[in-house]
Symmetry: C2
Subunit: 337 residues, 2 copies
């Protein structure tokens, strides 16, 4: 081991424990067995472990900084949420530090370390697609720092969250497609381990059930990037009878889908209706313009920041988890009948 | 004054000096008069000023963190630059903390304070549209922290920079419009105090001059948002003879411009050609698809991060200013003849 100060991480590595277990063991947390606590504390003592003095000092001087971790940044929805977070933070005289996990678990872990080192008062997280372990989130809480999830929540951690009503948004959109005469509706979704995708799929399925339409597995695909559109949509169009609507996980997919369907010779919306999700500005610049579900990202950002700041300042005192739901709206344009 | 530790800012305020002057006066910088140095140092002593110990300590422990300040975040170009910065930083084992100035001077100042407090090793900045004072940038340098500007550079500060060859990009694009038969070409630009706008305008003008076409002031307008498109473009279309091309400051403006021109009954590109700038993905989803100048934002991000990290690590040793230029490419699609 090099000469730098030993950290909780080093102890965890040496003893083959998670950093969060080590952190809790050091604080005599009752969830950790006496044996483990002994083991950890003895090791820490022998190796002259000291808590990070800078981080502690920064934490004592309340400095009104919030950390935010987003999984994607070249992304209309997340950048809109960031703008909302910033507006609310500014109003309440808080500053924000942004980290970009790039859908990468290691980067998410690193981002949390950086934000804790920077002495933030609280952290807002939308988790990366590749994250399946949650110790790093637990570490935030164990450090006494407030944590609020937004949009992509981590179901493995019990903490405050702000989500979009993806289920209702999808249900209404698909319902609208059915009521305007479509009955062979494709769902282009995302990775099923993301709750946002599962919830929208459930909304899609329930709308079909509601109208006694059959659920067909062939009409459902993971298709959340332009590349996948090129692969998946031609396959869908070659089916007989041809689908008469595409309900897409985001506007980017919907826009590429629209281009492909038009160039395959179908008329939109006469032959095929298309509906996106997000309501970003590209919905206004395609031909025809795109119907989409507005997720109100700006509102979500403001609400998330408000909840976190209320936790920090003690205004929000509920001892359990606070969950807020942002309502969606279907914005009908020219791509649907 | 409250009881917290007195800062350089407080001294500056009390003595009606800039923080950067105070910072330099404390270090006996020769650019500051002996009188001012005396005044500042005496005041600091009387008020028990101590340099921020956390910031100093963090700075001593090299922690491989770069700060980045962007003026806009719901913005394809800047988010692409951020992605490039991240890729290069990651490759070199650096982490990044992002701040969003939201085109606001005060927020830019605040962001720099936060990043300095967080102990970053260097800062990348693209300045906000509203910034006309530069002390806060000087303060970065005075703190011994490396500073590199990208894209929107601050001409008032002598430091490294990475820019796009806006002039050449615009020149080639307008040249292409002329060579494909257009000769009444509108330039929809941005605020003239931004070098990116002035440089593109010069490229536009020189291309016209090169072909001995007249420069008409009525064909040049500040029009860099969708709202301005609604106001400016109808005015341009009502001129006789009608313009036969629009060269736009970004793709968003080009896309809205395209919608408006089509709905006014003109054919694109037969009657009017349209060219954007950025080459974002919306160029592929409009009908017709948009010709655009690719700024290679990802490359710019990588190059900026590389230069800054080389300064931090001492690999880049040039004593003067290093300027790097990212080349652009015209990507021809369907919206031009």
């Amino acid at each position: 081991m090099d000469k730098r100060r030993i950290t909780l991480k080093d102890i965890a590595k040496a003893l083959n424990l998670s950093p969060s277990t080590v952190s809790r063991a050091m604080k005599n947390h009752p969830a950790i067995s006496l044996e483990t606590r002994d083991l950890v504390q003895k090791y820490a003592e022998e190796h002259k472990y000291k808590p990070n003095p800078m981080a502690m000092r920064l934490r004592m001087n309340r400095n009104n900084v919030i950390g935010v971790i987003v999984p994607e940044i070249v992304h209309y929805f997340f950048s809109t949420v960031l703008a909302g977070i910033q507006e609310e933070a500014e109003r309440q005289n808080y500053n924000i530090l942004i980290c970009h996990s790039n859908e990468n678990y290691d980067r998410e872990v690193k981002s949390i370390e950086m934000l804790l080192d920077a002495g933030v008062d609280g952290i807002l997280v939308s988790q990366s697609k590749s994250t399946v372990k949650y110790d790093h989130f637990q570490e935030i809480i164990d450090n006494g720092i407030h944590l609020v999830f937004f949009d992509r929540i981590c179901t493995g951690i019990n903490t405050d969250k702000v989500v979009v009503d993806d289920y209702v948004g999808a249900f209404h959109a698909v319902n609208y497609l059915i009521e305007t005469g479509c009955n062979r509706i494709v769902f282009l979704g995302a990775n099923p381990h993301l709750p946002i995708s599962t919830n929208r799929k459930m909304g899609y399925e329930d709308a079909l059930r509601n109208h006694r339409l059959p659920l067909e597995n062939e009409f459902i695909a993971v298709c959340d990037t332009p590349d996948l559109v090129q692969e998946v949509v031609p396959r869908m169009l070659s089916r007989q009878p041809v689908p008469d609507a595409f309900f897409c996980i985001n506007d980017e997919v919907a826009a590429y889908c629209l281009q492909l369907i038009k160039s395959a010779g179908f008329r939109v919306p006469d032959d095929i209706s298309i509906c996106g999700f997000t309501n970003s500005y590209i919905t206004e610049v395609t031909s025809p313009t795109l119907t989409s579900v507005d997720q109100h990202g700006f509102e979500m950002g403001k609400e998330s920041a408000r909840l976190l700041i209320n936790r920090i300042s003690g205004l929000e005192t509920k001892s359990g988890v606070v969950s807020r739901v942002i309502k969606t709206d279907l914005v009908v344009r020219e791509s649907t009948r």
